[in-house]
Each structure stands twice: as C-alpha cells, then as structure tokens.
Symmetry: C2
Subunit: 334 residues, 2 copies
DNA sequence: ATGAAAGCGCTAACAG
DNA sequence: CTGTTAGCGCTTTCAT
C-alpha cells in the first residue's frame, strides 16, 4: 500500500506536481488536454489527496468541531444528524465531543479541537455563564456558532428556536381550550433554554389567570423531576401542567396516571422539543416542535459565511442571533 | 493571534527546534535543566503544538473515524458517548459520520475518512452483506473494529453483545414464568443483530412449546412495525411477544393496550437493548441490557492493540470476535 | 545531550 | 498555461 502521491501522478502524466495539484484541487485554470492526462494518470494510479498535507499548507483542515453537553439528551441526536449532513454537504468533516454536561470538560475539548486546527466550532454550551469564558476565547480564534443555547450577548453567532414564541403557542392553545389553572414545571439550571421558557411562561400566563405566573416549580430537565413535580403541584389541582421540555412532561404524565388523574380531561400536559419519545407517550404529548433541519442549515450557513472571510467570530461584524419559529404540535395530552 | 511555533520557543529558550520538540513531545531524553528552560518558554509564549504538522510528519493523526448507520437509532447515543470517552482517554479525537442507513453513503464516508488519514475506524455496519466490501477495503488500510453488528467472518475485529445468550435469557425467563405460546417479532433485514436474535429464538423456543420456533413475524426495527405485528399475531392469542428490539416492543405494548390486552397478565412483552425508552414505557419493558460501557472499552482496547503495531486489521494475526454477556432486566411487562 | 538538516505531501508565489 | 522554488510546523536521522 505505498501511498500514491502527487509526485507519482506528476511523473506518470509527464508534468509538474504544481500542475497536477492545480488540476486535482481545481485551484487554477489548466489546459484541457493536460487536465485530461493528469486525471487519467491519477485515476489509473488510484491517487487520493492527503488531507493532512493539504491542511498544513492551506492552513485549513476542512473540519469543524461539534461540542455538545451530552449526546444522550434525546433532543440532540436528531440535531447532530442534521448538522453532520449539512456540514458534510459543505465538504467539512465533523469532530465530535461529548462534555458530560461539565463546563470544565467542555473547555478542555474546545481547546483540544483548537489544537487540532478545526476551521470552526459548533457549540451547544453546557451553561450560559460557566461556558462563557471558554466560548469567548474560542471565538477569538475561529468562527464559532452557538446552537440551541446561548452564552450571553455578543459572544458569538447563535442559532436557536424562539423559545418565547414556542411557550406563547402553548399558552395560547391552553387559553383557547379554556384552561385557567396552569402550573409551570421547569428547570432551575442556568441554560438559556431553561431561562427563556420560564420567562415566557411568566410573561404570558397572566392571560389565563392573574395568579398563574407565580405557579412555577423548578428542578431539572429530567423525567424523574417531572414525576416529582407532579407530587408537589397536584394537591392544588392544576388544569394544565406546562413543562419546559418533553422529558419533564413525560415524567409528569406518568405520575399523573399513577395518581389516577384524567389527562387531558382533568389536566392537560404539554412539553417542548418534540423528541421521539413525545409521540410515543400515552397519551401522546402536545409539544412544541423545534425546526431541527432548519437549525442545522442556518448553523452551517453562518459557519460558511464566517469562514469565507477566514476570520474569527468576533473579527467581522457584529454577532448575529438567529431565532427560528417553532411549531405547536397538538396531540392527545392537551 | 500569530501562532506560536516550535521555532519561537526555540528562539526564546535559546536552543534548537529539535531539542524543543524532544522536550515537548517527550520523545527522547533531554537534559533536565534544558527541559525546564524549554517548558518555561513554551508556557510563557502559550505554545500549542500544531497537530496537523505533527500528523504529517508522524504519519498518524490521532483521530479515529466513527461511522454509524443512524445516530437517531436510540441505542446508539449511549454507545457513541462511551466510545467518545474511551477514545478521548486514549488521546484520540473522533470524526463522526452518519450514513442514513445507506451502504453507499457508508462506503463514501469510510473512503473520506481514509483520505483524511484517520488512524483507525470504528464501524457499525449498515448491512451484513452490502457493507462488506467497503469494510474489507478499509480493513486493508487501517485497523478496523466492528461494533454491535458484524460483517461476515474474518473481515475485521469485532465487538458485540452475545445476542444468542441474550435471547436465551429471555426465553428462560418466559419458560420459568410458565409462558407457552410465544411469538417472535423481529426484523427481516440482513443485519447480524436481526439474524442472530431470530436464530436464537428459533433455536431456543422449542423448550416452551414445539410449535413456538415457527411463530415468527418479520418486519423492521421500528415502533410502527411492533404495532402492526400485534395486529397479525393477536388473533392467535400469544401469551408472550418476544421482540427483537425495544422499539418493536414499545409498539407492541402500545397496540396491545389499545386492544385491551392485559400486559403482563394475559401476555408478556419483551424487548432487547434497554434503550432509555424501555424503562419509560408503560408497563416498563422487560428487556436485555447491552453492556454499553464495556462494549466501548473493548472496542477502544482492540483499536489500541492493532494500532500499536501500526498495521491494518488484516495485517497482524487473525481477526478477533469479542462477545460480551448481556443481562436480563425483568420489569413490569413480563 | 544537543544541533543541523532533510523532508512528510501539498499549495502558492513567482517566473516564464 | 505551466514549471520552479519555497516552504506550512513538526519529527527524526545523522552528526557532533
């Protein structure tokens, strides 16, 4: 398996390595006849460009680092899939890092990817505050796009669903259905998703009932918390449990059923994200669908634009925050 | 952000780039005093080795390609997570590819990773037959480890759960519970998991009932198929529905409940894999847990061993097929 | 133990 | 349009 190099192709096709490079990389115009000869020789020898050498010379590896909190979070696989496809279509390979929801690990992975000369970074920050420094450092070196969650204003370009709009869709729907005693079950962490969804509930729930904005329980984004939260709020007989994500909602659904509550007759339950689990719950979960494909496409586009200039995120123009509209999926749970 | 190179450190520490390289890469013994000076200078200047240049020179990138059928398959995220951790611990970065369950895409991704000079490949083949050629080609170039699914004998090292043992655990459990009319609901595709689980059912089900091995319905690994399969087998009143994976089992569970069947009183339902969804189903699914962490650790170990020789998979000794013991999780569904 | 020098395979000036 | 010439940043002989 002696690797075939440009030099071999040059020798076989009787021209210089420079010409071969130009033909094969398509960098500059080349005589049609020469090009054919070269391509033939390359084909015949089974030449494959060495991306490492190319990267060293071009100072661009054609890779982007994707750093996320936890791939086992059920919302992420679909996003990763779409990102992988979008980036591959743009000719870039994806280096993946899972941070175990730990900002220190996240910072280490980001640094490692930078050492590996990624052209850009796609980050889903673990935490709005504690990720900020590492993200800002990274954004000083390469284009960075934040996904799904933010990291403070102006740190880098970001793409996310419009959480406030999504929560408003839920509230409008509940209002139209005549629900008047909603409770919000959210997450206490400092992710932007947790904060924005909660804030949107507090801002919009008064339309159902003046007391509603105060009815908030905060835990984490888990099924277990959903179950536990129901035990805390059920005594006050809510007619709607508005959950900050689908995992919480699934837990709430389970516990409500154990308690013999009638969903949705007696109480509605809503989620957020539309993870695969949501459609499988019983009753199927009314939730807010994130436009995953579009999120990935926008992220890829931002990355391409920043990369075109070859500048780090903070080097060219103000950072852009793109918010995509969500969609309400009304299913059986409310 | 002018990048600090070895040359800069050499200048700052008053010695040659060779010495600096030796100190920082730890390749060869170096005077204690010199080493200290160099390290100090490197620290002070914020030197970070350029992995691309290093890779070109060493002919090793420190990356491994992970190619899988579909990250949205709920069994994979946990596996990806463990693999990422195990490989990172070994100092290797992970390039990720999602093939959309398509062998042609898979072949293309593998080739692309090879062009990018990955040191090794971790593959979950899309299909036992149709992936074989691309896998065999790859195994001729770099160490390859197959995960979860096989690709024909002797093609490359492989690590997977012992599917036959897992199915036997299920059958033993059902037999002990007095079940005598089991049906198997599996997948028709040509993945090894589909084939092995089905074969193990056919081999072991006679212990429950001589007719049982023939009671097999084949579709695909999906919730929808689980639902559909129940409609086909329910008229013959099985007392156990043995499913080839958890998705099928969840579908079966849903449909059985719609039909008013009593699970597990009237009919038991079992799955395979123990995806997160399994514990959340109602009733919670009795299933076979795959030892995900151990699978990842074994895969990383095989990779490291093969890589130590720097040889492709078929270059050193016979290929090894490692099978890990599964564990039965008895939950409420049977 | 250290330094000088030769590349890894490729691309980008710069000439012609 | 094409060839010649320098390297990219690093590791590794080969001397000393």
């Amino acid at each position: 398996m002696a690797e075939v190099t440009l030099k071999d192709v040059a020798r076989a096709s009787g021209c210089s390595v420079a010409t071969v490079s130009r033909v094969l990389a398509g960098t500059r115009p080349v005589g049609a006849e020469t090009a054919r000869t070269v391509r033939e020789a390359a084909e015949r020898l089974g030449y494959r460009p060495n991306h490492v050498a190319r990267a060293l010379r071009r100072r661009a590896t054609g890779t982007v680092g994707l750093v996320l909190p936890q791939i086992t979070n059920p919302f992420f696989p679909a996003l990763v899939r779409e990102l992988e496809h979008a980036l591959h279509a743009a000719g870039r390979a994806v280096l993946l890092a899972d941070c175990d929801d730990d900002p220190a690990t996240e910072a280490a992975r980001i640094a490692e990817f930078l050492d590996r000369q990624v052209d850009a970074l796609l980050l889903i920050p673990v935490d709005e505050r504690r990720s900020r420094e590492a993200v800002a450092d990274a954004a000083r070196r390469v284009p960075v796009v934040l996904l799904d969650r933010g990291c403070g204003p102006g740190v880098a370009d970001s793409v996310a669903v419009d959480n406030a709009a999504g929560m408003q869709l839920v509230l409008d729907h509940l209002a139209a259905a005549g629900r008047r005693r909603p409770w919000f079950v959210g997450a206490a962490g400092t992710t932007t998703t947790a904060a924005e969804r909660r804030a949107a509930y507090e801002a919009g729930a008064a339309a159902l009932d003046p007391e509603a904005p105060g009815r908030v329980e905060l835990g984490d984004f888990s099924v277990a918390w959903g179950r536990a939260a129901v035990d805390r709020i059920w005594p006050s007989r809510p007619d709607a449990v508005v959950c900050a994500n689908d995992l919480i909602a699934v837990g709430a659904l389970q516990r409500l059923r154990q308690l013999g509550a009638d969903v949705p007759g007696e109480v509605a339950v809503t989620g957020f994200d539309d993870v695969p689990l949501a459609g499988l719950a019983d009753p199927a979960l009314t939730t807010v669908r994130q436009p995953v494909t579009e999120l990935a496409a926008e992220a890829a586009r931002l990355l391409a634009e920043r990369s075109a200039g070859g500048v780090p995120s903070d080097g060219a123009g103000p950072s852009r925050a793109i918010r995509l509209a969500p969609q309400l999926l009304v299913r059986a749970s409310g």
